[in-house]
């Protein structure tokens, strides 16, 4: 027993076993096609199989500078959207032989560059970022050390890299059109505080642009936007009351910027004792498994989250593989699920 069972076999063990040098084994493993006499190749192959040898990714990473690791930074793992994307991305990475290192910011944006550094120290080959949009592009650029980056859902100013996201303009436009078609006329868009988060800003803008475009005589649609903090139900309740007052005879409706906000709105509506659909319309960005069962069912604009995650991973892996085209913007369409919360009676 020269080899203690506890230790994993190394390339040296294989070399000894096959009666060749480490270099030969390495060559067999890396460029197995070329430069090997069939007889030696067979011997090495047998030894590898027999010892169940698997190269150490860490040693490889140390040597090559590449690790077969992808760094994934998410703003908040508690957000179902982040999870859904993570899911698609992890799957795509794994299929390509990469492992995902996860760094959760827990909504503490100061940790953004710390996370990047932590991941960088493990020599991740690329980054998928779904973060707060706090750090500027140049800061991120230094933190990522020139490694490929793909942004999901949230753009960073001055960072010219691949970007995968819901088509916010289409999503908001279709949602608002749906409300108009269902007879709602006084609209309110509710978002988490916009801050520097591009998706929130874009959705708000798309909403405001929609209003402008549809403010033709006879249509008489109008609306407002509201930034609502998660813990401030009072403000939201007052905004809803104001909305209904403004509506006068016409029907009021809310578009919520994501699933978290949808739940806030639902809570506020419940507190007011209003009925969804009838007293106030509601459609939310992000569909959820529970949406059909709240009140008369909550209408939603579903994001193709799995697809977004997969696409992000694919883009990133192409870059890792050396693709050097200009930065791409991939906007995926949302899908409307109409339910009772946008039916006036």
């Amino acid at each position: 027993m020269s080899k203690p069972a506890s230790r994993r076999n190394t390339i040296a063990d294989v070399a000894r076993h096959a009666g060749v040098s480490k270099a030969t084994v390495s060559r067999f493993l890396n460029h197995r096609d070329a430069l090997l006499s069939p007889e030696i190749a067979a011997r090495v192959e047998a030894a590898v199989a027999e010892l169940g040898y698997v190269p150490s990714p860490m040693a490889q990473a140390l040597k090559r500078g590449r690790s077969r690791l992808i760094g994934l930074v998410v703003a908040d793992i508690a957000n179902p959207y982040s999870v859904a994307v993570l899911r698609g991305a992890e799957q795509a990475c794994r299929k390509a032989g990469y492992l995902v290192m996860l760094f959760n910011l827990g909504n503490e944006r100061e940790r953004e560059s710390a996370g990047l550094k932590a991941l960088a120290s493990y020599k991740v080959e690329g980054y998928i970022l779904n973060t707060m949009g706090h750090d500027t592009g140049s800061l991120l650029e230094t933190a990522t050390q020139g490694k490929p980056v793909v942004l999901v859902d949230r753009l960073h100013p001055g960072l010219d890299v691949d970007f995968v996201s819901l088509d916010n303009r289409q999503a908001i436009g279709d949602s608002a059109s749906h409300l108009l078609a269902r007879g709602y006329r006084e609209l309110l868009f509710v978002t988490e505080p916009r801050g520097a988060v591009s998706s929130r800003i874009e959705r708000s803008r798309a909403f405001e642009d929609f209003l402008v475009q549809h403010a033709m005589p006879g249509q008489a649609v109008s609306g407002q936007s509201l930034d609502s903090a998660v813990d401030d139900q009072e403000t939201l309740v007052q905004a809803l009351q104001a909305l209904r007052r403004r509506a006068a005879g016409a029907s009021p409706a809310v578009i919520s910027g994501n699933a978290v906000v949808t739940l806030q709105v639902v809570a506020a509506v419940a507190r007011l004792g209003w009925r969804l659909g009838r007293d106030i319309g509601l459609i939310g960005i992000d569909d959820t498994p529970w949406a059909p069962f709240v009140g008369p069912g909550i209408s939603a604009m579903a994001q193709p989250t799995d697809r977004i995650g997969q696409l992000a991973a694919q883009c990133l892996l192409q870059r890792v593989g050396g693709l050097d085209t200009p930065a791409r913007r991939m906007l995926l369409p949302g899908l409307l699920a109409a339910r009772g919360s946008t039916r006036r009676q």
Copy 2:
């Protein structure tokens, strides 16, 4: 410019900068307390600061065999429970200076040992496992190479390691007692197919034991268990109809084994056109943000998921730190949130 800006500084750079040997720098960093003349220590410290030197975890891992990495294997990242635990665990690990490597099984249990191997190759120092319970303990034991393991929510037969979970017996007991107190008498426990998943089995058993204990004359409580596949709504609908028939005059109620099942039950009840609480009682294991807003509000037994994740991480890190006590079982109590779905009118 001798040092290309692209490369991260190494210990050699620091040594050169401070005019000492690499060994001295290493000593300063690792056992900074001992064996260093104040003057040299100061020089090294300055050099480290000036160059912004951070040791390479990969090189350290290669040398020491330790990586400051924790492997986290979850059965299904789409399950909110997994995510909530992941969240607590990641936070605790990060605070202790560890990073989490995530491996998602996507409910494909064959990938369990593959995942462990992948993580092992990165020399993770320990594993947090929330998996399918498919692979036997001995199989896992070899896959984890003797590294510390902590199991979350799901036990593996023959694997004698730390275990953190909801106190299923208490949770089920309190849920069922709550139903009795609210006047429900004919109970049905619905779980995802038990298979080899210990938590499902335990909850089912706890429910059955509860029935036996409360089957005294005068109480007249009875019930059954049902394994319900996620995609088989038909069976569930029929089971609910049978339940109500059995109840005759008395009130029927369902305990659902987790949030996924709760949603199934809600869907089935909706299809039957029944009203929660009045026509049928419902209480679910796992509280969710949407539970208060479905129908009259869904009563729930909340798991302390964050705490479970943190505890799991803490246990694991203790073991990583060398703790060598017998395996521990940590059972955390659930907290009842009573809502309208367990109010008979």
